[in-house]
């Protein structure tokens, strides 16, 4: 339940916002105090007003500070420019509105999921038909469980340096690193931060799950510029360890192996096959080796592994073992 005090504070914050938003000129502190804080002593007012301003600013309300009259008065005044305050008009077609609705279901990260929903609420408030409730069955998939993710996310936005302890693969002890983060990228299912390592004076990439303890922002915001044209995903692809994939060649019966065909780099139709019961096609695909034998086996006599030899041997070996097993069960 909303208590009296809290309601009073909401009113005060909103009234302050309205007062500064509707004035063309800067409003003096004295006037603000007289109208909105009439019962407060000077010190209490100073404290409350500071806090209220900060709360509005943390919502994203742009409160400007200026001088009322440069000739006589050095007391600061305040205002909110309506153009800086309001969301610019964004027109969305119905299909664009639909994908933006789906965007609210992407983050599996409480703070960013809420931020996305809030953004969509604001867009909906412009009159767009954005149904936030329609997709509750869809599960979010973009997770960021690394404790340092939030620090690097913020630092990237604020262009603020970060200090952290990092455990390199193969090392036993973490070392302290200093980085000017340029961006954060997810590659092969892992989050990385990309930036300028100021100790080594070179571009570096760090896997967030290898950051030990708390990463800390250090120094002021806006302390450096991201090199123009930086493409964080390109840097991540270039510097992150490559996921291991294998080139696989399969013979697949015509009309079968549907999901394999979807992922194939090349399909050559009507090639000679192991039997003539149907036509055969040759598929070439680039795949991680995990689970590949399972997938091929699932197609039974519709798929034959040509290469790599290791995969072929594994498939044959597993089939033989299954048939041997049968003898022990039935005998």
């Amino acid at each position: 339940m909303m208590g009296r005090m809290a309601a009073g504070k909401s009113e005060r914050l909103l009234n302050l916002l309205i007062m500064l938003l509707v004035q063309r000129h800067y409003v003096s502190k004295a006037k603000i105090r007289e109208i909105l804080y009439p019962d407060s002593g000077f010190e209490a007012f100073e404290k409350m007003f500071e806090r209220d301003k900060e709360e509005l600013r943390s919502l994203g309300v742009p409160i400007e500070v200026g001088t009322l009259d440069p000739l006589f008065d050095d007391e600061p005044g305040y205002r909110i420019s309506p153009d800086d305050f309001a969301l610019p008009d964004i027109t969305l077609t119905p299909d664009e509105a639909a994908v933006i609705g789906v965007a609210t279901k992407v983050w599996q990260h409480a703070r960013l999921a809420e931020a996305t929903t809030e953004a969509v609420r604001k867009l909906a408030a412009q009159g767009h038909d954005l149904d936030l409730g329609a997709l509750d069955i869809v599960e979010p998939r973009l997770s960021a469980d690394e404790p340092s993710f939030d620090v690097f996310w913020e630092a990237t936005q604020e262009r603020q340096a970060v200090v952290f302890d990092y455990l390199k693969p193969g090392d036993e002890e973490p070392t302290t690193r200093h980085l000017q983060p340029w961006g954060v990228a997810r590659y092969a299912g892992r989050w990385y931060v990309v930036g300028l390592d100021t100790d080594r004076r070179a571009e570096r990439i760090f896997r967030l799950s290898r950051v030990q303890g708390r990463a800390r922002k250090s120094g002021r915001g806006g302390a450096y510029e991201v090199p123009p044209g930086t493409d964080v995903s390109e840097v991540a692809r270039r510097l992150a360890p490559q996921p291991s994939t294998t080139r696989v060649e399969l013979l697949v019966r015509r009309g079968a192996g549907h999901t394999l065909r979807v992922g194939a780099d090349r399909v050559e139709e009507g090639v000679p096959g192991p039997d003539t019961a149907t036509a055969w096609d040759r598929l070439v695909l680039e795949r991680g080796s995990l689970g590949l034998a399972d997938e091929v086996l699932g197609y039974g006599a519709d798929v034959l592994v040509v290469s790599p030899p290791a995969l072929r041997e594994r498939v044959v070996g597993r089939l033989r073992a299954a048939l041997d097993d049968r003898r022990t069960v039935t005998s």
Binding site: L112, E118, V226
Partner: protein, 347 residues
């Protein structure tokens, strides 16, 4: 911040309430007269909270202090003797200066842009084009506010097509319209075309929750059928109304075949390497399967419900040699024949 704030209770802080009001006023401005419950659903708050927010708004206005300076809210329409009147229409006037929503904060702008990039990366060509248009508009707006998120969510983080398809199919079910489906039948490794009466989109059972299913009456099978969304090749919502009586979709929490009648229980013996299926398919674990005395690597006996023998054969091939059929014998023979036939390809 109070404890309640951190707990995320929407009614907690004054700051959160102001944020809601800054969205509520433009929403009302854009939509005209809206019922309290409709506005509450659209803005994802309770009608009670919305009424409390409106009461705060009622106390605000221009700094003059005259009655005309205050924002006017018709509270009588929203409150009866026994509390909130959800069907009351919200009327707010004298608040034009709050008619536009607040700019996106840097975090909000970045969060939604990165979410859209994730959707883009995981989408098919046609969807990708739509996401690109939406992204361009939001990126332009964000750049005006000095925000350029340098975050790339990678390739596999979101499934836009499935989410949009779920939305479209659920819409067809709600509207009582037939759908033509191109569907991949995994059990037979086969493409099919059919017309269905959609009943609803539901999550799969247990660990398979992230797979969504369409429950529908299938006019080809003349029976209710479940279609996994990621195997739907294309779906066209037709103008024709559904031909069967509407029914709510089945709840799959207890397993996919719970309500089917033409199924066979098959007893399997699973080595540890094949035990993952217990989490993915509706199975019953037999005897002392969970007994502490049994060694961890001892085979586990389970009963699995099978509607289509071809599906079981494919599963057993996939698990080979870590799963064996104990009974019925006919299923064991079918599997053996399939394994021999496959092995003969390599001869």
């Amino acid at each position: 911040m109070s404890t309640a704030d951190r707990g995320g209770a929407p009614s907690a802080g004054a700051k959160e309430q102001v944020a809601r009001l800054l969205t509520l006023v433009p929403y009302l401005h854009a939509h005209g007269e809206v019922r309290l419950d409709e506005a509450a659903t659209a803005l994802r708050v309770t009608p009670e909270q919305l009424l409390r927010d409106l009461k705060v708004l009622f106390m605000c206005g221009l700094p003059g202090g005259y009655p005309d300076d205050l924002i006017d809210v018709d509270l009588d329409a929203l409150e009866g003797e026994d509390g909130v009147r959800s069907d009351g229409v919200i009327r707010v006037s004298n608040a034009d200066y709050l008619a536009r929503p607040l700019r996106l904060s840097p975090t909000e702008a970045s969060a939604i842009i990165v979410a859209l990039r994730a959707l883009r990366n995981g989408a098919r060509e046609a969807t990708r084009e739509v996401v690109d248009r939406a992204l361009a508009k939001l990126e332009t707006a964000a750049a005006e506010g000095g925000v350029t998120p340098l975050v790339d969510p990678g390739q596999d983080a979101a499934d836009a097509d499935q989410a949009l398809l779920a939305r479209r199919l659920q819409g067809a079910a709600d509207a009582g319209r037939q759908v033509r489906l191109g569907y991949y039948v995994a059990a037979r490794d086969e493409q099919s075309e059919r017309v269905v009466d959609p009943r609803g989109v539901v999550p799969g059972p247990g660990q398979a929750r992230s797979h969504l299913y369409l429950d529908a009456w299938c006019h080809s099978a003349e029976a209710p059928r479940l279609f996994r969304l990621d195997r739907i090749e294309h779906a066209e919502v037709l103008d024709t109304p559904v031909a069967t009586a509407p029914e709510p979709p089945r709840d799959l929490a207890d397993g996919i075949f719970a309500q089917a009648s033409d199924v066979t229980p098959v007893t399997l013996e699973l080595d540890p390497a094949a035990r993952w299926i217990v989490d993915y398919y509706p199975v019953e674990v037999l005897g002392s399967g969970l007994d502490e005395d049994v060694a961890a690597d001892a085979p586990l006996r389970v009963v699995i419900t099978v509607a289509d023998e071809r599906w079981l054969t494919r599963l057993l091939l996939r698990l080979a040699p870590h799963a064996r059929v104990v009974a019925p014998a006919a299923y064991a023979e079918t599997f053996t024949a399939a394994a021999q036939e496959t092995l003969s390809l390599y001869a």
